[in-house]
Amino acid sequence: MFLEVANLTKTYITKEFFSEKKFLALDDVSFSLNEGEFLSVIGSSGSGKTTLGRILANILDFDKGSVKYFGKEMREYGTSELSGIVQMIFQNPYASLNPKLKIRSSFMEGLAGAKNSDTEGIIEKTLKSVGLEKSILDNYPHQFSGGQRQRIAVARILLKKPKLIIADEPFASLDIYSQNQMLDIFSGIKKYGGVSVMLITHDIAAAARFAPRMIIMDSGRIIKDDTTDNVFNEKKNEYIMELVSSMEI
């Protein structure tokens, strides 16, 4: 197993003057993922899917449980070691690139520490894989559309050659055309092999096109971890049936 998550629990605590507000975002979450496997995580807002993604991406700490990459606890890895294992794409393409930096400088960060000296060649090849030209390197993020920025963000993390890409609602603010482009990029990654992608979304239609396996979350718990076909044939759980029917409208 490439990724093993066991009994993961996370509580958000908001401190007020004399009291604490607790919110249980993840409640005893367990699942595992194979190398190269594609998975969608589905749930409504507040179901804990973004929290799960952020914990796996090492942006957020967790309270209880364990997250293992290649059989080794995530907390035992160093930051730069983990950066070669897991990377994340964010929902808002307008905020995922530093507005004051040219694309080239942002890209160089992805290559820092890489031993290969042919940086230009690597960048060109990576850009091609997301359907972008090399000429974009000397521009600033504000010169691109949301879809282009999202592809730039994908190219940037591909430079790190991660084993797992967590995509947190990457289509949410994109039009249908850009959404399809993104899905194509992910299919390209799948064909290439060796990279797992976890798509976090509330859009069950996109999820169905994306991966054969789905995890459905509700109130911080995994309520279903099954193949896409089985999810669509669900007859018992009302929440899942509602999700599925929302797609058919």
Binding site: I59, S83, A112
Partner: protein
């Protein structure tokens, strides 16, 4: 850059500041007379062709003294604000980025500094040390960083959670680069606005101190000091108070206009 030509007030401010800086830098060439040479036969003369802005009680040319005084006002303004910006940014960035105990300690310290009535604190410090232009700059700088520190902290708090900072963190970008390449350039706009307005404030404080005799000492001149000398003769020599007063007013106003303009430029919402 084109936008400043559309904003008449800011353009006028920028032109005026440029003139003052130009006059201050080339004071020996521009000033018609030595600012300290006394002509006792020419005491308290009203503005005329020989003395554009009249003479003071020792027969010194007010115009020449004001040009030399601009050096003091402008340099106090810039250096005091430089100190303010360095301290304010440092404390604000540390506080906002690290949070937790660091944040609590630094912000409570800032609160304490905010509680002091600044001008009286400056008076006390100047009374203890020698009143001269350097002490004035340092004291103004050391007492006016609190507002900036809070602004920078708030900005850093929001920027450090932005996706591009998180993305760079995940790429294992080092802390110094995260700080100076990703966070600082994205919080710089309010700092520049604060600095532009702060220069006006520092010039005003210097004038106030000099007016009270705690700023620049004779024979050096500053606008506030000329104003102070003028108060004794205000009924018979109005020009001694009027012209330095106008100079201070216009300079502070110009810096505020530029500050307002920069705020508009950096804030895309307006």
């Amino acid at each position: 850059m084109k936008r400043i030509f559309k904003n008449k007030a800011a353009l006028a401010g920028a032109v005026f500041i440029a003139l003052v800086i130009f006059a201050a830098a080339l004071a020996p060439l521009i000033a018609p007379q030595d600012p300290s040479s006394q002509e006792l036969t020419q005491r308290l003369r009203p503005p005329s062709a020989a003395h554009l802005l009249g003479t003071d009680d020792l027969g010194r040319d007010v115009f020449s003294r004001m040009i030399y005084g601009a050096r003091v006002s402008i340099s106090v303004g810039f250096f005091a604000v430089l100190i303010t910006v360095v301290i304010g940014c440092f404390i604000g960035m540390l506080s906002g980025y690290f949070g937790g105990v660091t944040d609590s300690v630094l912000m409570r310290f800032t609160d304490i500094m905010l509680c002091f009535p600044t001008f009286f604190l400056i008076l006390i410090v100047i009374a203890f040390f020698e009143p001269n232009i350097y002490n004035v700059m340092i004291v103004i700088g050391l007492t006016s960083w609190t507002g900036l520190a809070r602004i920078v902290r708030a900005e850093v708090l929001s920027v450090r959670e932005r996706e591009f900072v998180l993305a760079s963190k995940m790429l294992a970008v080092g802390k110094p680069r995260l700080f100076f390449v990703h966070i600082l350039p994205n919080v710089i706009s309010p700092i520049i606005v604060y600095a532009a307005i702060g220069i006006g404030g520092a010039i005003l404080t210097e004038s106030g101190l000099s007016f009270l005799g705690l700023g620049v000492q004779p024979p050096m001149s500053s606008w506030g000091q000329i104003l102070m000398q003028g108060k004794d003769y205000i009924y018979i020599a109005w020009w001694l108070s009027l012209f330095p007063g106008i100079a201070i007013l216009l300079t502070v106003l110009s810096f505020n206009m530029i500050g307002e303009f920069l705020r508009d430029v950096f804030d895309p919402k307006t």
